[in-house]
Symmetry: C2
DNA sequence: CGCCGCATTGACGATAATCAAACGACGTGG
DNA sequence: CCACGTCGTTTGATTATCGTCAATGCGGCG
């Protein structure tokens, strides 16, 4: 569709033959969402299944008294909002576009039928969810056992790996994210994050500014994550 | 097999016809593990898929520097240790028996073939993992936004729902668990958990002792979880 | 030009970790 | 059967990490 995204290479569609894929695609609808709006909101009835073909989104969950958690950031090619396919009737989170975004949308029922007809598709989905579960448990371990600074370092490295783009000096995270977002991703407050990032900036580990993040010394962050106390100054 | 566990009712096997189920079962091996030992350890090569038919186990993950997280407690009828089916080559955690336990064990490959042959099975698995993912994300939100006391309350209520057994007075958690286990389940230290449980005991919310837990006032815990500050004394 | 949302910074306080010690129950072996 | 040792638990004192409260600065957008 001219977006440069080859769906045959998508993890979800591996092993599916061309005709079947085309058939499945013909059953999808396209949905465009402007930056700042959402594909769906937490607690809404979940009847669809989404595949992001362009743009970037942020999956969030809200606790009763104001707390927010960024479940994950995602970019083109990733599946999301498929609660119904996974056996949940309501969306567990909100999918907000942080960039103008486009997604393919199927009726959950259509996707389930396709999986029954093409077990490969179901197995691919199983691996996909398996991967997400694995990640979630890794994060749980980190959140339960590590302190804030290291968790932030991990988050930054992940963002770099996922949305990194070489910049004038260092690697820029091509993803508009506020300190608040980062805080919500690691389970900390805006303030703590700001302080820590500021200290990293002083040491020349990081650059950036308003909604931007540029990693200058990834190795330094890796060292911080891989424990050892780092040669301080 | 005389364990009183009806596998036809198992979530994983729903919608599978009797013959196919019998066939699949005939391909399983049985494995017994004594209390204190493990079905498998974190980081081991994962070539199998397990279904607990008797006993109780504890799934744990260890962080580099000593921290431990209890991923989940589970009882008869639950699937576990199927990393390979979910696309991971090594077990992400350890499955330790807290009671003498028995499990059916398949080669991961066998299970994958069965899923290809019976898409229903794959869809059931997908829902199962979907549920686990959902739980994991809920825990992430809690861990990131709530205080220790409330997290403990939640954990206790969950344990009660999962392994509760009416006792002389109140409901006993039929699961041998130490304060340390509970601490590792909520991301706190043994000491903090001990203190909080002690305070609950004083108020008559809880009873129990060494490795035992008896909930006397579940409503009180629910109130604690559902926020509002509770009428103190 | 002025407002609004994002970010920075400081002071303070509290939650929960860490350090430290002792107790009680249970199981084991003498 | 009792003594002993181990493991789980309790409790106290102290500290530190991080959240809360508060105020100000900055940059973009209307």
């Amino acid at each position: 569709m001219g977006t440069g995204l080859d769906l045959r290479r998508n993890q979800l569609f591996q092993g599916l033959n061309g005709c079947d894929l085309a058939d499945l695609l013909s059953r999808a609808r396209q949905k465009s969402i402007a930056k700042g709006s959402a594909f769906f909101h937490e607690q809404e009835q979940a009847a669809h299944c989404h595949l992001l073909t362009g743009g970037q989104i942020k999956l969030t969950q809200n606790s009763v008294e104001g707390g927010q958690l960024v479940v994950r950031f995602l970019g083109a090619g990733e599946v999301f909002g498929w609660a119904m396919v996974l056996g949940t009737t309501h969306y567990p989170g909100t999918a907000e576009a942080v960039t103008d975004s486009v997604a393919l949308v199927w009726e959950a029922e259509t996707m389930r039928e396709a999986m029954l007809a093409h077990p490969t598709l179901a197995l691919n989905a199983l691996e996909l969810v398996g991967g997400r579960l694995h990640e979630a448990q890794e994060r749980l371990l980190e959140l339960a056992t590590e302190r804030v600074e290291r968790r932030i370092a991990r988050a930054v490295l992940r963002l770099m790996a996922q949305a990194g783009r070489p910049a004038a000096k260092g690697v820029e995270v091509a993803f508009p994210l506020s300190r608040q977002d980062l805080a919500d991703a690691v389970g900390a407050t805006l303030h703590t994050v700001s302080r820590i990032l500021a200290s990293w900036e002083q040491r020349g580990v990081l650059g950036g500014g308003r909604q931007r993040l540029v990693v200058l010394l990834p190795d330094w962050l890796e060292a911080l994550v891989d424990d050892r106390a780092i040669g301080q100054l």
